[in-house]
Symmetry: C2
Subunit: 195 residues, 2 copies
């Protein structure tokens, strides 16, 4: 009568489990930020216990970094798919594509909006990530704008600022603010002298 009975629970392969963990965590951080995130909630959302969750990500900080790494990878993939890696695309087209993509995934946008603000303080585990991300974005955009305007750096700052600001208003009131339309209208002035 001794039952061999191994594995009454699913025991997903590590890669799939990791993917599930990242999905759940993305949703929860968007709702509550990193400081408001609890490992218990993530574990529950995955049908795991907390030690089970920690087996995959090591620590709470590790969990956050896993989410950000995954986003980088996805974003890079998506942008190449949409635009090709062509050098013929204008900065304005790049921005428009980005806004269109963001308009379709409010959860991700919220993830970044919350973490961007939270991580302003130097002891936030994503502080360095967001500092590097902002520098990379501004440098890339500045370079792309060089041949189109006299003040590429200042224009780049304005573009990023406007995108971030519009996203916040859109997230707070998705029904009333049309992200893509607002951006197109705003872009008309921003790119008045640029391409």
């Amino acid at each position: 009568m001794i039952q061999p009975l191994r594995r009454s629970r699913p025991r997903l392969p590590a890669a799939e489990r990791r993917r599930q963990i990242i999905d759940v965590t993305t949703r929860l951080i968007a709702e509550r930020g990193f400081w408001g995130l609890s490992m218990q909630d993530v574990a529950d959302g995955c049908g795991l216990t907390v030690p089970g969750l920690l087996h995959h990500v090591g620590s709470k900080d590790g969990l956050l970094l896993a989410v950000l790494d995954y986003r980088d990878e996805q974003d890079a993939r998506a942008l190449v798919a949409e635009l090709g890696d062509a050098a013929t695309v204008t900065p304005r087209e790049i921005c428009a594509a980005l806004v269109r993509r963001n308009a379709g995934q409010p959860e991700i946008v919220r993830l970044f909006a919350v973490l961007e603000a939270e991580s302003l303080t130097p002891d936030h585990p994503a502080h360095d990530y967001f500092e590097a991300r902002q520098r990379r974005t501004l440098e890339g955009l500045t370079a792309a704008l060089k041949e189109h305007t006299a003040e590429p750096e200042a224009v780049a700052v304005r573009i990023v600022a406007l995108m971030d600001g519009l996203q916040i208003q859109w997230l707070r009131n998705p029904g009333e603010v049309d992200l893509v339309a607002q951006w197109e209208a705003a872009a008309a002035m921003l790119f008045a002298d640029a391409g």
Copy 2:
């Protein structure tokens, strides 16, 4: 030998103590957000125990609302002092005054930046406050723009978005981004057709 010995500790009057609590809390929320705020840290910063702190604010939510109420009061006072309540002031001047004031108090700006993002979720204790605040701001600005542009509402959205976005970049890199200068330059395009 029986000592009457009452009050070995300061025992500040309630109003002063409340003011101190709000100051300390403002700094801590700017650093960690509301979810990351601990009553213990606030109490320590005031030289109080946690129950002593709770005596003044009732609960953690009450503490947050006290901070926001106080900010509303201060901001209204400051804006009237700077501009008078005159109807002769243009929207552009109002915005410029606001940006100049913000440039001098990064801690307060950070408080709002963090709470604005955190409070996107409906169960955040400041959710309603920020929703009302955004609506009030947009309506006021839209009204002020009515005589200056054909699309006052859309321009108002852009103005708010740009101010919020510039502030984030400035907060992350105060040395490299000059908030006032960036705003002046951006305002030149935003108000191209408006006053």
